[in-house]
């Protein structure tokens, strides 16, 4: 299509001035994060590299789904990812590509042509740049999602320690809300530790669990049942007064499970059951 290649070659001819205008527009935009973009020449480098890829791709096609656009899209992907990590907002990231509109429109306007052809070119360029903008925003979102997901995983791993208190006694201090995902991980790590340490008693401490509703209670029961199947008894400790009231008001049945208000009480019971006792050294007779 001669018209498109013509547009590309015009951009190619004016590439240096377009780049200069574009960088100036980006710098002038009040959305630009001066605190995050430290050096102007970095922005200039990024803009130059992208403009080069943009023109190369435009020489082939105006459809960004064609393979010719792959390098340009990949470059945008890297840029969005880097900006997502640095903490740019979505609109700030999208402005990188959207601010290219103005210099390109200026270029089109400078060519003296009839209004119809100009309008067509405008439209084509708008569609193209909007698509690229959407692509950028999407990639930005993906990068952010990946970051959030990674942090969630780290949180999950951090928040489910299983500690050995004594021979055959494990403690599982739970902190934060128990959802199905976490219950699964808690259960797996507890059962794994039961096998490793031949534990007979596991104390589940829920001091750090802010609320206990029917779902959380059900998850607790599941964990207790699974541990029992492995031959370990569970004691639930750290039940605060309000939570005790909630449990009864909700009609949750914890009848078959030993419950204690503090971890110390639970540990005492656990020691008794394993036949151990704690005494003070040199206590007066």
């Amino acid at each position: 299509m001669p018209q498109k290649t013509q547009m590309a070659s015009e951009i190619r001819n004016q590439q240096a001035s377009i780049l200069k205008d574009w960088v100036n527009y980006q710098l002038a935009a009040n959305m630009l994060r001066r605190d995050l973009i430290i050096k102007e020449h970095e922005l200039r480098d990024a803009s130059r590299q992208f403009l080069e890829l943009f023109v190369t791709a435009l020489e082939e096609s105006t459809d960004i789904s064609t393979p010719g656009w792959k390098p340009a899209k990949e470059y945008l992907g890297e840029l969005s990812h880097a900006r997502a990590v640095q903490g740019f907002s979505p609109s700030e990231t999208a402005m990188f590509i959207l601010s290219l509109k103005q210099p390109l429109f200026d270029l089109l306007q400078r060519q003296q042509r009839d209004a119809k052809a100009l309008a067509e070119d405008f439209w084509e360029m708008t569609v193209l740049l909007d698509r690229l903008g959407l692509h950028t925003a999407e990639l930005y979102q993906q990068s952010r999602d990946a970051i959030i997901q990674r942090q969630q995983m780290e949180l999950l791993e951090l928040s489910t320690p299983v500690v050995q208190l004594w021979d055959e006694i494990l403690a599982l201090p739970l902190i934060g809300t128990l959802d199905s995902n976490r219950t699964q991980i808690v259960m797996e790590s507890l059962l794994q530790r039961i096998v490793e340490t031949s534990a007979r008693i596991a104390i589940i401490d829920i001091t750090g669990v802010p609320t206990v509703d029917t779902l959380v209670a059900q998850h607790l029961m599941k964990t207790v049942s699974a541990a029992r199947l492995m031959g370990a008894d569970c004691i639930i400790s750290g039940i605060r007064p309000q939570i005790a009231q909630t449990i009864v008001h909700l009609g949750v049945n914890l009848q078959d499970i030993v419950t204690k208000s503090t971890l110390a009480d639970a540990f005492h019971i656990a020691l008794q059951r394993t036949g151990a006792a704690v005494t003070k050294v040199g206590a007066s007779a």
Partner: protein, 127 residues
Amino acid sequence: MERIPILKMGPYLLVTIQVDMHDRVAMTLQDELTEQIVRQHASGVLLDISSVNVVDSFIGRMIGNIAGISRVLDAETVVVGMRPAVAITLVELGMALPGIRTALNVDAGMALLKSARKISSNGRLAR
């Protein structure tokens, strides 16, 4: 057809399941174990499932049935060596095997049977 051996150890029977439990195998085991309990006057059954990787609701129910039948015949069943993944699966299936005794390994199961026997012979706890 595969058969699961039933070993006599003192007053107890030891059943070690080392093959994946198909439904037929499980049915045969149930029949043979019942017969053996009566013939050997066993007072306890150790069901070692440490080699079992896969369970379904049928096998879960089977284990429950075996324990129930043994109890009727006055032999306590202890299920030993359940793997974590199996335990989670059974709980997710809603089969927490209530009323069945469990232990981590054969040693612990044997100790459990012995202590249960002592208590019941003292007449304090008739289980």
